[in-house]
Amino acid sequence: MTTLNKEKLDSVTIRFVGDSGDGMQLTGNQFTSTSAMFGNDISTYPNFPAEIRAPQGTLAGVSGFQIRISSNQIHTPGDELDVLVAMNPAALKTNIADLKQNGFVFVNQDDFNPTNLAKAGYDKDADILTPLKAKYRVVEVPLSAMTVETLKDTNLTAKDKERCKNMFALGLMYFIYNRPSDVTEEWLRTKFKKKPELADANIKVLKAGYNFGDTIEIFQSTFEVPKAQIKPGTYRNITGNESTALGFVAASKIMNKDLFIGSYPITPATEILQELAKYKHFGVKTFQAEDEIAGIGSALGASFAGLLAITTTSGPGIALKSEFMNLAMITELPIVICDIQRGGPSTGLPTKTEQTDLLQVMFGRNGESPMPIVAARSPSDCFAAAIEACRIAVEHMTPVVFLSDTQIAIGSEPWLLPNLDALPKIKVEHHTDASTFQPYARNELLARPWAKPGTPGCEHTLGGLEKENITGKVNLSSGVHEEMTRIRAKKVENVARQLPATEIFGEKSGDLLILGWGSTYGSIRTTTEKLLSSGYKVGQVHLRHLNPMPNDLGAIAAKYKHVMIPELNSGQFNMLFRAKFLIDTKAVNQINTKPFNVSDLTRIAEEIIGGKR
């Protein structure tokens, strides 16, 4: 056994890619857990194929998991890869472009055979690795062979043996990056509690991979990414969809109201329903409806009956929900509509990320139909954003849209668990006094009372026809409609009255304000940090509330020479902002299913400041 130097690195970005059946998600998750518990800051991004299980070895079947570990605070899974682990030619082909010059690429040489080369669309006899060596550090590992060899004395089937090969790759990475393997060993023992022979085999292979790194002499040194300076507290790694589900359970506990979710499965929103299905003992009622319309319809019924009600979907499902969203708006009932955005238009790119539903949720309804919109910025932030959406819904008696997207929903990051006492309070009251009841009476926020069926003397009928204020009687006359339209608009504007001052990161005035929302948070934050450290006078505002916009936003923007608005769409928020403030913003738009690269944003920001854009 050789003893190698440990080279210290600030941060490393690794992507594991292979066939859907190769267990890449699991491998990535293990590297994540181990690194998180070791004390790095981490950020991850999985990338699923659109097919359930496309034929083995094909381009359509490639599944990937990217993880960045760092000794500093990080906010993105990284622009470029330091390391690519490619289990087959298809994985190599579709991912090599993201590897940085001189980066490591580990390949399972056993899978680079004519059959698999052909499946990936290469000439079956091509030598595809040699040309790569000019640009990258290519490490060919006989992963399959070594795995099978390691397990030769076990009774496992050939298929089961072969399946352990991802652990070999993981072990190797653990060696190179000086990570302990105990977290994974522990996890394997739990996972295969009922099949200890599988646990043993996997652990054996994991160790073999580790030892393989130690044995072969291809590395001049191993690497170490030291612990990060992390805020003290208890952490847990969490995906956006998990944290969204937890946020709703928390809101339900805070208000002391059972939670109802009416939903129809759709990628990438399905997991919220699936997570919530686990929490029946929290009084959570999950209803898998026959379609999106029934999902929101049942939620609206549950809201009328007095529960905290939500519905979850993605872009194509919003189209179907919009008629009911409008009914919720005019009947002024609280529900939260979650839109976990994915690549559009139409069925589009169901497993990819995009921020292209903002205008749909803002305007996709007939008539004037204003509705608050909140956006989550990262996986762990979904928790707070979900609670905020519920707070607005019940305090203002209105439907609220909660926006997340694929990147947030399936990405994960360490979450500093909240102190339960510090969770926001939410005021919610049901009207019970028959003598004072008027269904469309209003409080100072213009919210109307919420009287549940079952309350004696508060009988009333809601509906989608225009109705008069206070009494709620159907009334289609012109003055009434004008008044109610104004009230409904004002009611939504009032949400902004309750908001704290908008947070600005970086300079409070200067050359450039970078204004964003949603999953671009990490890229923009890192960009801002880089610009600040280069001495630019830059500020970042990342909005939680897209409608209404915070009241101080105009004044903030006016303090900068330029306003840059990066979005993963064609400029949707940008349009709203320009129309409102008549500021000649610099929109930065990308619609290629990928998060922004920090380097691109930085370059563009510099150009803007330098007057080149």
Binding site: G39, P232, T234, Y235, G283, K285, F287, L300, E459
Partner: protein, 349 residues
């Protein structure tokens, strides 16, 4: 105060005008419902009326109960949500042949197969009333309307058969022109646990006047109505005719035969049979083949756990097993680790 004892019809009449056309069959249904409700022993505040869009769907505005006039075809979804949220409520749904069977038939079907505990009244006037007279899914083939100037091409749907095939546990047919029968059916529906589906023949005197005339005309009503009674043979025409299942040919066939007191030859009505087959058969009578009379009354009534019941049973079981959920435990679960202030090394807990 025990509110329920003192309830009268008047308690269920909403303030304000009823705005249906004079002569519309909807009035009679409204009155029957307002007659039946106070007798059910349910406090007024526990009734909720939910509807879609159509003339019929204006119903909740005229009831002095909780109500929700929702959107076209979607009432079953809202009604289901209300019931799941609070199973104590008595939830009634009002829909039309357009609302419930054209745009909304999918929700109707799913509601029925789930057996949500809801009382569903489908006002069938075989026309779109509110949009002023286009053919509906129950309009007869060949019907001339503003959108079918040469006669409608669509074959009509039989709401009763549709409900049975959808797994309904209670299916009945009655007529707005017969308040007594209607009230009997409404009472039975109210007593049923599960989705009670009632097709109500209702005359739209503006756009489809006389659609049900043959069931009402003096000359034809006896031969056209087959009034069902559980346990009784299928007799009609003042008990002079009855329906038999003839198995003498290769495939069994229905026939009308004269009744002369020998009830054993005739099919006995058993709405409680597990199998849906006989209910399906009875529901088709007269509709599929007009040479038979049409069955009026309770066609099927069986018992099966309701959706809301099982939903809460599962919740209670989960609570019994795992205890009431604790938010703290939930958040602090999974693989968590602590970054300490003193001990600077992270450690898994």
């Amino acid at each position: 105060m025990n509110a329920t004892q003192q309830l009268t019809k008047k308690d269920f009449i909403a303030e304000g005008d009823v705005k249906w056309c004079p002569g519309c069959g909807d009035y009679s249904i409204l009155s029957s419902v307002q007659t039946v409700l106070p007798t059910l022993g349910i406090p007024k505040e526990e009734f909720v009326f939910i509807s879609g869009i159509g003339c019929s769907s204006r119903f909740p505005y005229y009831m002095a109960t909780y109500g929700f006039h929702t959107i076209h075809g979607r009432a079953p979804t809202v009604a289901s949500g209300v019931k799941m949220a609070n199973p104590k409520l008595s939830v009634w749904m009002v829909t039309g042949d357009g609302d419930g069977l054209s745009i909304g038939a999918n929700h109707t079907m799913h509601m029925l197969r789930r057996n949500m505990d809801l009382k569903v009244m489908l006002f069938n006037n075989r026309i779109y009333g509110l949009t002023k007279g286009q053919y509906s899914p129950t309009s007869e083939q060949g019907k001339v309307t503003k959108t079918s100037l040469m006669g409608s091409i669509d074959a009509p749907l039989n709401p009763v058969s549709y409900a049975i095939a959808s797994g309904a546990t209670f299916v009945a047919r009655t007529s707005a022109a017969n308040p007594k029968h209607m009230q009997e059916v409404l009472n039975a529906a109210a007593a049923h646990k599960g989705t009670a589906f009632i097709e109500i023949f209702q005359n739209c005197n503006i756009f489809n006047d006389g659609a049900f005339a043959k069931y009402l005309n003096k000359e034809t009503k006896d031969s056209e109505n087959l009034v069902l009674e559980a346990g009784k043979p299928l007799l009609f025409n003042q008990d002079t005719l009855g329906i038999v299942l003839d198995t003498s040919g290769p495939s069994p066939e229905l026939k009308v035969e004269e009744y002369k007191g020998d009830s054993s030859r005739f099919i006995t009505h058993n709405p409680n049979a597990d199998s849906t087959t006989m209910a399906y058969l009875i529901g088709q009578l007269g509709i599929e083949d007009p040479s038979f009379p049409t069955a009026m009354g309770i066609i099927r009534q069986v018992s099966r756990p309701t959706y809301d019941e099982v939903l809460y049973a599962q919740e209670n079981e989960a609570k019994a097993k795992k205890g009431e959920g604790s938010l703290k435990e939930l958040l602090y679960s999974g693989e968590i680790w602590t970054v300490g202030a003193e001990k600077n090394s992270p450690e898994p807990v």
